[in-house]
């Protein structure tokens, strides 16, 4: 299985502020009554974007200036709570290809990498500067450079943190680990027996 090598993501950004944005907020549980992930993009941040009658609330994703954004900018502990992969799936299917945040919840982070969505960690101050720049010019080109661990926008840039394992997986096109995991099937069988899990 040849996967894309994800070294950089280029696009425009949108800032969704707030800390501890949980996966229930990213995709409310009632939209998980499905047996495929298709169509989840439509329900991204649904309850904070929509009134109960379906009309729009004030939310960055409802702002037409940011409708083509592909880089999501967020606060700390982004994606906390439920392990639902529906959350990164909704983010991806909505059109986002990278997330920049102050910090990420662990399960969410891992789920994103496995889908080939780089999640990079920036300081709160850098995020503020980027958010202000994007607000001032929604068409501003933003580049998440996974390889160099840097975010570029306009004539500015800042360093971001990406754990080595995630960075390597993304830039080498091995973010979906299934091929690697399948390789050691015989050894796994032996170990399963030794550990007493299988006869």
């Amino acid at each position: 299985m040849a996967l894309d090598k994800i070294t950089t993501v280029q696009g425009t950004g949108v800032y969704v502020p707030g800390s501890d944005v949980d996966t229930d907020r990213i995709i409310p549980a009632r939209f998980m009554k499905c047996v495929t992930f298709d169509g989840l993009g439509e329900y991204l941040f649904y309850d904070v974007r929509k009134h109960e009658d379906g009309s729009d609330k004030e939310h960055p994703l409802n702002d037409p200036r940011f409708k083509d954004a592909t880089i999501l900018i967020a606060g700390s502990n982004f994606g906390c709570g439920s392990s639902r992969e529906h959350a990164p799936q909704a983010i991806y299917r909505y059109g986002f290809r990278a997330v920049i945040a102050e910090s990420f919840a662990e399960i969410f982070f891992g789920n994103c990498v496995t889908l080939g969505i780089p999640c990079v960690v920036a300081t709160g101050d850098d995020i503020k500067v980027l958010a202000a720049a994007v607000e001032a010019d929604p068409t501003l080109a933003v580049t998440v450079d996974v390889d160099q661990c840097r975010v570029f926008f306009g004539d500015q840039s800042f360093t971001v943190h990406v754990p080595d394992s995630a960075r390597d997986a993304l830039i080498s096109g091995k973010w979906d680990p299934i091929a690697d995991l399948l390789e050691s099937a015989d050894e796994v069988s032996d170990r399963m027996q030794q550990l007493g899990y299988s006869a």
């Binding site: 502990n77 992969e85 709160g124 394992s165 399963m192 299988s198």
Partner: protein, 478 residues
């Protein structure tokens, strides 16, 4: 400095297959638990790749998230829920997976079923497409919540790619005061260390309080490790653990039992383990706890005063308090006690076990749920329901004005018909107080122990169970 190893390290090392090219570890997951919400897409991916389930005998399925708790005959009135159940049934059949279906009498919340069947065992690795999988850590297992692509990885290979966690030892020593329960201990820990305090860590819970806890109390604490940001949480196995497991359907019997206990005991952390971090908490400092906000770390003693935004130490924290209070419609500076509630929910993988219902039943006998409060009690599994019913607890709940329901996740995440309406406020024994968590986009949740939920149900407002039930040293369980 000791050379001892923690349980986490021992279990990790025993299950590590090899280092992958990106530096992560390929880890064997001995037991894979699945449910209807996060598995169908994984089976779809498996079929697309033309793969089989590698060790079907190590995967166990049940249905919990979407099952209605007030109807028992299929098809259910919600066609989407019905389709999901049928999909799981088909996948279990197609791939030869043990499925604790509704008709077996063993169905329930996956984190209740695993332990009660004895599938959850010390020194093992367990994963499930559900973040509350840490519950199984109560047995000295290392248990992770995972995403659906990882569910696929486990189905196909019984392994997953993971980076090793650090270990934080959390000691709770001393005696818990009357009216203080395991739920209060974990709410206190989360309030102290924060919702992101555990990122990168597994939490090892220990000390006198945990030594004295029952398995069900240990499960309540481990269950909410993820609310503190920790992907796994565990308690070292001891005689309490083995006593609980003895005779369970999936546990070894006869001569094999003693050998199993010996093996399990050896996984416990060595006395000279050096931890990455140690936190000490005094049991006497833990009070009956409630949350006031929209993140599980926004909590305090029921005697507390709702914070003012300006009390936040940073602008971000001030904004978090402001956002939480606006959503919760709570008045800064006023006591949380006395806040009117609309709904009371006792259940979930945190607090839906026999001991939870027993403890509440002891105190609500002869009392009535306040007018205008809707109160529901939802057993965590069909077996829990049966055990409660054998003791007549269901009748105690019904007499007090609770609805006694069938097993499932119910109003913890409201994927079934049990939902808040509008901005109803729910006193809940569940694990998350996120915006909209209980099914209404404006619904509000206050997390607390089951007995505190009962106190709120009876008085119609957030109350101190110690006052409502006149809890003294003598009447308290601990």
């Amino acid at each position: 400095m000791g050379n001892g190893k923690s349980l986490f390290e021992k279990v990790w090392d025993a299950h590590a297959v090899r280092e992958l090219s990106n530096g992560q570890t390929q880890l064997i997951i001995g037991t894979h638990l699945i449910h209807e919400v996060t598995s169908p897409q994984a089976f779809g991916m498996l079929r697309d790749l033309g793969l089989k389930v590698r060790f079907p005998e190590r995967t166990f399925a049940t249905v919990d998230h979407i099952v209605p708790t007030d109807e028992s005959s299929e098809p259910f009135s919600d066609p989407l829920a019905d389709a999901m159940i049928r999909e799981l049934r088909k996948n279990a059949e197609d791939f030869g997976i043990t499925y604790f279906d509704l008709s077996t009498g063993k169905q329930g919340i996956v984190h209740v079923v695993g332990p009660e069947q004895g599938i959850t065992q010390p020194g093992t690795t367990i994963a499930c497409g559900d973040s509350h999988t840490a519950t199984h850590g109560a047995f000295g297992a290392i248990a992770f919540g995972i995403g659906t692509t990882q569910v696929r990885d486990l189905l196909a290979t019984q392994t997953m790619a993971m980076s090793k966690l650090k270990v934080r030892r959390i000691n709770v020593d001393g005696q818990l005061p009357p009216g203080v329960y395991a739920k209060d201990v974990i709410l206190h820990i989360i309030a102290q260390l924060g919702a992101k305090g555990g990122i990168g860590y597994a939490y090892e819970y220990g000390g006198e309080v945990f030594d004295n806890f029952t398995m069900e109390e240990r499960m309540t604490v481990c269950n909410m490790s993820i609310e503190g940001g920790a992907r796994a949480g565990y308690v070292n196995p001891d005689d309490t653990t083995f006593e609980y497991l003895k005779g369970r359907p999936y546990c070894p019997g006869g001569d094999a039992w003693d050998a199993a206990v010996e093996k399990w005991r050896a996984f416990a952390s060595d006395p000279d383990t050096v931890y990455d971090d140690v936190v000490n908490i005094r049991a006497e400092d833990v009070a009956p706890s409630v949350t006031w906000g929209i993140s599980p770390d926004q909590g305090f003693s029921v005697t507390g005063t709702i914070p003012r935004p300006e009390e936040g130490e940073t602008p971000a924290e001030q904004e978090s308090i402001r956002e939480a209070l606006e959503y919760m419609k709570l008045e800064p500076g006023s006591p949380i006690k006395g806040t009117k509630i609309d709904v009371a929910f006792i259940g979930s993988c945190t607090n839906g076990r026999l001991s939870d219902f027993r403890e509440v039943a002891r105190f609500i006998k002869g009392r009535k749920v306040a007018d205008g409060v809707k109160a529901i009690a939802v057993p965590g599994s069909q077996i829990v329901a049966k055990l409660c019913e054998n003791e007549g607890l269901d009748q105690v709940f019904r007499d007090a004005g609770f609805d006694w329901r069938r097993a499932g996740c119910s109003m913890c995440l409201a994927m079934n018909p049990d939902k808040l309406i509008g901005d109803q406020l729910c006193a809940s024994s569940s694990n998350r107080n996120f915006k909209g968590r209980q099914g209404s986009p404006t619904g509000r949740t206050i997390l607390m122990s089951p007995l505190m939920v009962a106190a709120a149900a009876i008085t119609g407002e957030v109350s101190d169970a110690r006052e409502v039930f006149e809890l003294t040293e003598l009447s308290s369980k601990c």
